[in-house]
Amino acid sequence: MAKNLTTVVSSKTQTVEINRNNPTVIIGERINPTGRKLMLKALQNGDFDMVRTDALSQVAAGAKILDVNAGVPGADEIALMKQVLSTVMEAVDVPLCIDTADTDALAVALELYEGKALINSVNGEERSLETVLPLAKEHGAALIALCMDDDGIPATADERLAVAGKIIERAGKRGIPIEDIVIDPLALTMGADHTAGFVVMEAIQKIVAEFGVNITMGASNISFGMPERKHINSTFIAMAIHAGMTCPITNPLVAQVGIAVLAADLAMGRDEYGMKWIKAYRARQKEEGK
């Protein structure tokens, strides 16, 4: 078993340490126009109120890091990323995760960001390794690495482990330390393949045993096509935390997700005296009493 590594990310005023001994770090997913028609329209109209509101509400709901994506079709992503990022940095103090497929937008965002950012993402494709790794090194950023390469997303856990290893090695050659790499083993849809959940659990366990790195996942996609998705998502997230996931990218405003994370942390012995669980219960009671 590899030693558990600590990934540090920071804003100007806050530092977050992601580690398997600490409570799970939720990366809030809401600041992203993909599949959110209202936010897409708002961004197209240069309206950033929704971005500000979503930043505040996610942090209030327990997100320790916020993902920031400004990919709007037909728009100038560099300009938009600057505006969205500035809006979020003004609204909240938490560290940010810069989410873009556009290398130029990424470069500009890293220039603007104050602190140690988390980049979302690099993957095993040659083009991605060659463009994203140098930027991460230059800015001393941590980065999320997706377990896929030029051949697509591998079907088996062992193949995903191999892609993770390749990215860690290539990053190492550029002087990026392994603890700065957070692996995303890629949760696919169980609605299309009922073994998708099992495969990704196995991949997490193997990657953690081999490298000790932190693990993230977009954990909402897993239930696509199924009824009562929130039950699947919350159970899946708890199981993935047991398997070794440390910082899921998810929606903290869905009460069930936050509750599943807290219960999983308690069950993993990471919630001293159960105080986080009890505190969250009291907060919910107060909310209901309103």
Partner: protein
């Protein structure tokens, strides 16, 4: 004889591929035509799958099983239909556009279209415009279907349509698009012939596009 059609339709709805194979073979032995078995049995079942899926009474895994059963039936019927000169709905070249690695949605639409009677040429994901062009030249499809799941990759659908125009192929095919970030407005803006918001609508759209042609 009506009984066998009903059982075929039920078999499709319940996703029982083996049962469909048996029933289709029995029907042929009894002298029913491939066209009758298809139109009165399999397609009736598949239409009902579309209705129930849209209504939220059926879910993706069930639709996949129904599509598999449909494919089992078509494996037997297609060669007979072609030989008898029955009019087929034609081919659809289907792919997720360049830079996008999402496979599932596009495969769902492909299966629903196959269920509706089309022949599918599935180019997979991360398909560049040149590959679409080569496939059109080789397979002479009636329709080209494109999928994109990211706001950052949906632009590639527009680029692909432009490439088809430049290659002088745009007039010989209908183009349909779909995917999470896509909507009718975007579809119109890039000059596509239609947009489907889910897999059954994609199949319906495909049928409309060929009947309008």
């Amino acid at each position: 004889m009506s009984d066998i059609y009903e059982r075929l339709a039920t078999g499709i709805l319940e996703g029982e591929a083996e049962k469909i194979t048996k029933l289709v073979n029995r029907g042929l032995k009894k002298g029913l035509s491939a066209k009758e078995l298809l139109d009165n049995g399999l397609i009736v079942g598949m239409d009902e799958v579309g209705v129930r899926f849209k209504r939220g009474d059926m879910f993706v895994p069930e639709v996949l099983m129904s599509a598999d059963s449909m494919a089992a039936g078509m494996t037997i019927l297609r060669p007979i239909l072609i030989e008898s000169g029955a009019e087929m709905l034609g081919k659809i070249v289907m792919g997720t556009v360049k830079g996008d690695l999402h496979d599932i949605g596009k495969n769902l639409v492909s299966m629903m279209c196959e269920g509706a009677g089309f022949e599918i040429v599935n180019l997979g994901f991360n398909v560049d415009p040149e590959t679409f062009i080569e496939a059109i030249k080789e397979h002479q499809p009636a329709i080209v279907g494109m999928s994109a799941m990211l706001t950052t990759t949906m632009r590639a659908m527009g680029h692909t349509i432009k490439a088809l125009e430049e290659a002088g192929l745009r007039d010989q095919v209908k183009v349909m698009v779909g995917g999470a970030p896509v909507d009718k407005e975007f579809s119109d803006a890039i000059g596509s012939d239609g947009y489907g918001s889910n897999a059954p609508s994609g199949a319906e759209l495909a049928k409309q596009l060929v009947s309008a042609a």
